[in-house]
Amino acid sequence: MTKNYLKIAFRNLWRNKTASFINTFGLSIGLTCCLLMGIYIQHELNYDRFQKNGSRIVRVIMEYKFDGGSEFKKGNFTSVRVAPVFKQTFPEIESGVRMVNYNRVVQYQNKLIDEKAFMYADPDFFKIFSFNVTKGDPGSLLNAPHKVVLTESSAKRYFGNENPVGKSLKLTADSILYQVTGVMQDCPSNSQIKFDFLASFSSLGLAGQEKTYWDANYTTYFLLKDQGSINTLQSKITPFMKKEMAGQGASVDFFLEPFTSIHLHSEFDGFEPNNNIKYIYILEAVALLILFIACFTYINLNTARSVERAREVGVRKVIGAGKMQLFWQFMGESAILCAISTIISLIAAVLLLPAFNQLTEKQLSIQAIFSAQFIGGLILVTILVSFLAGIYPALILSNFQPVKVLKGSFKNTVSGQWVRKSLIVFQFSISVLLIVSTFIIQKQLNYIRNKNLGYNRDRVLVLPMSKKMLDNIAVIKQEFKSDRHIQNVSACVSTPVSIGGGYNMRSSVMPENQQIAVTANPIDDDFVKTTGLQLVAGTDLSEQDIKDVSNKDQNQNTYHFILNESAAKELGWTPERAIGQKMFLDASRPGYVKAVVKDFNFESLHHPIKPLVLFPEIAGRQLLIKISGDHIQQTITFLGSKWKTLVPDRPFEFHFLDEDFNKLYNSEMRLGTVLNIFSGVAIALACLGLFGLSAYAAKQRVKEIGIRKVLGAGVDNIVATLSADFVKLVFASVVVSTPLAWWLMNEWLQDFAYRITINAWVFIAAGGTVILIAVLTVSIQTIKAAMANPVKSLRSE
């Protein structure tokens, strides 16, 4: 019996090549999308799960406010004081680790490499986190200054196959030798803590700073004795901090975040950008929707084709087949088709994985696909899809009455058409939804790209600076500027793309114990010119202003501040009135307002513009070089050769400022690309189904077409008649999905402080596109049917 089913299933698939192809192709694409998404989602959901202590680790979030200000500032930073003090005070804490990541130029023999992931951590790092140390004594890896553990990749990069333990690397920043104490496996790709080097925190020489909760530039993690104690501990921290901060003119509090929920749920990044659980849900939904579209195509084609199979069903029933036997025969066919599609999609997923990795910027491995868990899930999905796609056609087919199907012309039932129409509407609603979303996301991304941010990020090179370079900055600037294509050079701490430095400010009329939290950035006298900021009042910084803050005796320094409009407003001044006003940036920097710049977006467009102070200080960490844009290659070559002589201790590694900018919207751009692809796939699949359906509709109505032609209808009339049914359905889909798309996209846009408004044209354009594609798809079939000779079709009945 089974053999007979299989045989007829295969032969049927083979005979009806178009339908089989459409079905297999559709299901394969649907399953491939699901597979790839599945791997990705699994990877994201498994983030940090390899940490054996994961459920007991918490990250410390700092929140602070100055007494005069109204705004709380919050972030994943703490001072070096938190870890030792908390560990001593709260018995719930088993151990703590402070970490910070820097760019460091590492030198070994003739190798000089700018390392972007040079991490510092306390010795308990390896007690708290589960990273596999392969060489070295785990107890003493980081227990003294200037010890460093390498990952296997970085060990290979510097030492090849030699054993690096015991050897030394030089950090050019302080010319200090770091002794390699161990080697560990590379950080897994699903780890929020990623680095190439891990050096002892004590190397930073910060013991003296353990008195203050300020200078919060480090990340602190605690390992709790008991994972349940997080709330108890939290409730003790707030009163404790009240005591600690009493009389200091500010309030500081700390919050504990469960380590394993950081990657998908926290608003603050780990040591790499977080993902957003919302995007995971979106991708899950999209993958499922695509699978649904494929299933519905299968259902539609098979119920439409049921006319063709009706005779077979009739014959089988007459010969003695029971309803259940036929039901299982047809279910078997859908199972076979799904199994074939699953195999194809597995192959496709393996082939597409590299491209998919590029798209997602992940290193998902093929092994993930072939894990028992995944294959088990895949088998389950295959069975579910077989049922979802197969059950309705199987029910319809096995219910046919032989009396009705064996004689006379058998037509599909009205109820069957109703189901088919609903499924088409559903498919196209999904397509329209995806296309509208894609349009809006692209529009928002375009808006971001083209928005005037208030500074100019074109043709600005960014180079990380070392302390040594600062001593020599005047010469470096002058040498660079000797090329006429180099317009300006500026040293600053943060580029205008992303300024995050937390300070507080006070005007001289405010009481001394009141402060306003403010973002600030140390700059030099070329910053405004280099970045193209617009002065609305006052004058730009001068060389003298830099000298005024470079006194040997710091108490003699006088600062000349540049405020943005928001900061001036916050302090109660108009831009014009602000000029010359006395103010303080932190208590340690007294000075006067020298200029006010137009507000510019110094954070991602997710956030509104906040108060900002730019102040002169020789503290540059980034060198910005504005070039003219003519002969870019020569200019860069010139810079490179100058760099070698001027900055021998650093490699010449630069990037452009707009790359920094683009990074701010990485996850949105990725979402945009993924949705681009998926909405393309969705509309293609929906049209594939429509193509098949219109073919069968044309076939079924061949007699009607013949009669119409005999009666004088032209090809255009007939095409219109045949297409009308489908176009109506697609139009209904547009109507159905419009409100949903509007609501969803509106929600998404809420995440941006600066956003587009959704216009009606997006829906008109998306709807128009879908209808056009649908009409074209249907026309292929209807034109063919309409052109046929009616004599033939009428005789064949």
Partner: protein, 229 residues
């Protein structure tokens, strides 16, 4: 006297659409004895096919009684009808109704599969019947590769492979030329002589002459019964 194989009494069948009710069978009563060869004739729309469908338990009557081998089957459930059908009745159609995706052998084997005959036995019986129908050499061909006459022979082979007591033939020669048509009628006659009861619907007076008795229908009623000599 031997009980008839088929006894229908006052059989009625209506077809209803929203506005019109058509009477297909109007208080029809017929008896068919075991071993008989009966032809049913009449103009289009007289109810021949409806009668055949009811006799073949593909359809149920609205009113009246249908006793098959002493069992009242008029209101059997579909499942019970199907069960009775597959063990007792073979069908031959005008348009052959072979399954295109299956070979000759597989088409003939199908009824045996549905009645649960074991595989080895199936092969034996299919070969036997194909041999008898002289289409053994075509066993691995598909229906489209055969002539109409050959196709109908396969269909007859399929109808008899389960050794049914009754064969219902619906214009078995309707799609065949006269030579092939005569062959098919010879086959049916042979089967009848070996004891199978045959009821055949036909338009052809020529074919009807092969039967023992002709029942002529008009508007769902028996008009006349001719006994053939």
């Amino acid at each position: 006297m031997e009980a008839p194989m088929i006894k229908i009494t006052d059989l009625e069948k209506f077809y209803r659409t929203e506005e019109v009710e058509t009477i297909a069978l109007n208080k029809l009563s017929i008896e068919v004895k075991t071993g008989e060869f009966v032809a049913i004739m009449g103009p289009s729309g007289c109810g021949k096919s409806t009668l055949l469908n009811i006799l073949g338990m593909l359809d149920d009557p609205d009113e009246g009684s249908y006793v098959f081998n002493g069992v009242e089957v008029a209101h059997f459930t579909e499942r019970k009808r199907a069960d009775l059908r597959k063990h007792n009745i073979g069908f031959v159609f005008q348009s052959f109704n072979l399954i295109d995706e299956l070979t000759v052998f597989e088409n003939v084997e199908l009824p045996l599969i549905y009645t649960g005959v074991p595989s080895a036995e199936r092969v034996k019986r299919v070969e036997e019947v194909l041999d008898k129908m002289q289409i053994m050499h075509r066993r691995n061909h598909y229906p489209q590769q055969l002539s109409g006459g050959q196709q109908q022979r396969v269909a007859i082979a399929r109808a008899v492979v389960n050794k049914p007591k009754l064969i219902l033939a619906d214009e078995p020669t309707g799609n065949l030329d006269s030579s092939n048509g005569n062959d098919v009628m010879e086959l049916l006659t042979d089967l009848n002589e070996q004891g199978t009861t045959i009821i055949m619907v036909t338009h052809s007076e020529h074919d009807a002459r092969y039967s023992h008795r002709i029942i002529r229908l008009l508007d769902g009623q028996t008009v006349v019964e001719n006994i053939m000599i």
